[in-house]
C-alpha cells in the first residue's frame, strides 16, 4: 500500500528533493565548464568519464522528479 503524506510532509519532501537536485545541477554545470575547457585545450581523456557522470546526475534527478510525481498522485 502506498503511503499517503499530508501537504506539510509533501512540502518538506519536495524541499529536500529541491536541495539535492540543485546540488546535482551545480555539479553538472561545473563538470560541463571543466570538460569544455579541457576539450578546447586538447585534453580528451576526461570527455567520456565526465559525460557518464553527467548522465548519472541526470538519471538521479529524473528519478527524484518521478518520485515527486508519484507523491503528487497520492491524496492525503
Amino acid at each position: 500500500m502506498r503511503r499517503r503524506f499530508t501537504r506539510e510532509q509533501k512540502t518538506t519532501i519536495i524541499f529536500g528533493i529541491l536541495c539535492i537536485v540543485l546540488i546535482l545541477v551545480m555539479l553538472q554545470l561545473w563538470l560541463l565548464s571543466a570538460t569544455m575547457n579541457a576539450y578546447l585545450g586538447g585534453d580528451r581523456s576526461v570527455i567520456w568519464p565526465a559525460a557518464l557522470v553527467s548522465l548519472g546526475c541526470f538519471a538521479l534527478n529524473a528519478g527524484l522528479l518521478r518520485y515527486l510525481f508519484a507523491i503528487e498522485r497520492t491524496q492525503p
Binding site: R7, E8, K10, T11, I14, F15, I17, L18, V21, L22, L24, V25, Q28, L29, L31, L32, T35, M36, N37, A38, Y39, L40, G41, G42, D43, R44, I47, W48, A50, A51, S54, L55, C57, F58, N61, A62, L64, L65, L68, E72
Partner: protein, 183 residues
C-alpha cells in the same frame, strides 16, 4: 460544502490577522499560502531537472564533437613563407588549416620562429603580434600572451594559444599541425 472545505484549507495570511480582518481583496481572492509554496518549489524542481537535461546534452555534444575531431586525420602541410622573407622581429599572418583559421608567424631570432593561432583562448577575438613588447595582445579584453611560448601573461585568458607546428624544408617554412594546449 466543497467551497467550505476549500476555505478551511486556506492558511493564515502573511500578516497573521484572522480572515475577517483581512482587506476585501484578500477575502474575495484568498491565497492558500502553503499550497503556493508547495507549487512554487515543485515547479522550480521541474525547471532544474530540465536544466540538468540541457547540461547532459551539452556534455554529450562535446563527445560528439570529439568523435569527429578524432576522425579528422592528419592536417595538410602548407607552405607559409621563405625563411628569409621575414625580418627578425617581424610577423606574418596566414590561414591554417582552414581558410578562416587565422594564424601568425613571428621571427624571434636568426634561427628562431614561432607560430600560433590568432584565436584568443578567452572569447576567440583575433590577437595582434607586438614583437617589440614580446607579446600577443588581444584588444577585446586586454589579454596578453607571451610571444615565444603563447602562454597567457595578462588579462582573462587561462589557456595558451594553439601552437602551429613548423617544419623547415629547402629554405621555406611549412605548417604541419595545430597543437591545442593546457597550462
Amino acid at each position: 460544502m466543497t467551497m467550505q472545505t476549500n476555505r478551511e484549507q486556506i492558511t493564515t495570511a502573511p500578516d497573521g490577522r484572522p480572515d475577517s480582518e483581512q482587506p476585501r481583496w484578500r477575502q474575495d481572492f484568498p491565497i492558500d499560502w502553503a499550497q503556493d509554496h508547495y507549487v512554487a518549489r515543485r515547479d522550480f524542481t521541474r525547471f532544474l531537472v530540465l536544466t540538468s537535461l540541457a547540461f547532459m546534452v551539452g556534455q554529450f555534444w562535446i563527445v560528439f564533437q570529439n568523435f569527429f575531431r578524432a576522425r579528422r586525420g592528419a592536417l595538410p602541410i602548407q607552405r607559409i613563407a621563405g625563411v628569409d622573407e621575414l625580418p627578425i622581429g617581424g610577423d606574418l599572418t596566414f590561414s591554417y588549416p582552414g581558410e578562416h583559421d587565422q594564424c601568425v608567424l613571428v621571427r624571434l631570432g636568426e634561427q628562431s620562429y614561432a607560430a600560433f593561432s590568432r584565436q584568443c583562448t578567452h572569447l576567440s577575438c583575433a590577437v595582434v603580434a607586438e614583437p617589440d613588447r614580446r607579446r600577443f595582445y588581444c584588444p577585446c579584453h586586454e589579454g596578453a600572451f607571451d610571444i615565444a611560448s603563447g602562454s597567457p601573461i595578462a588579462g582573462p585568458p587561462r589557456r595558451p594559444l594553439a601552437r602551429i607546428t613548423l617544419d623547415f624544408r629547402q629554405g621555406a617554412i611549412y605548417a604541419t599541425d595545430v597543437e591545442l594546449r593546457m597550462l
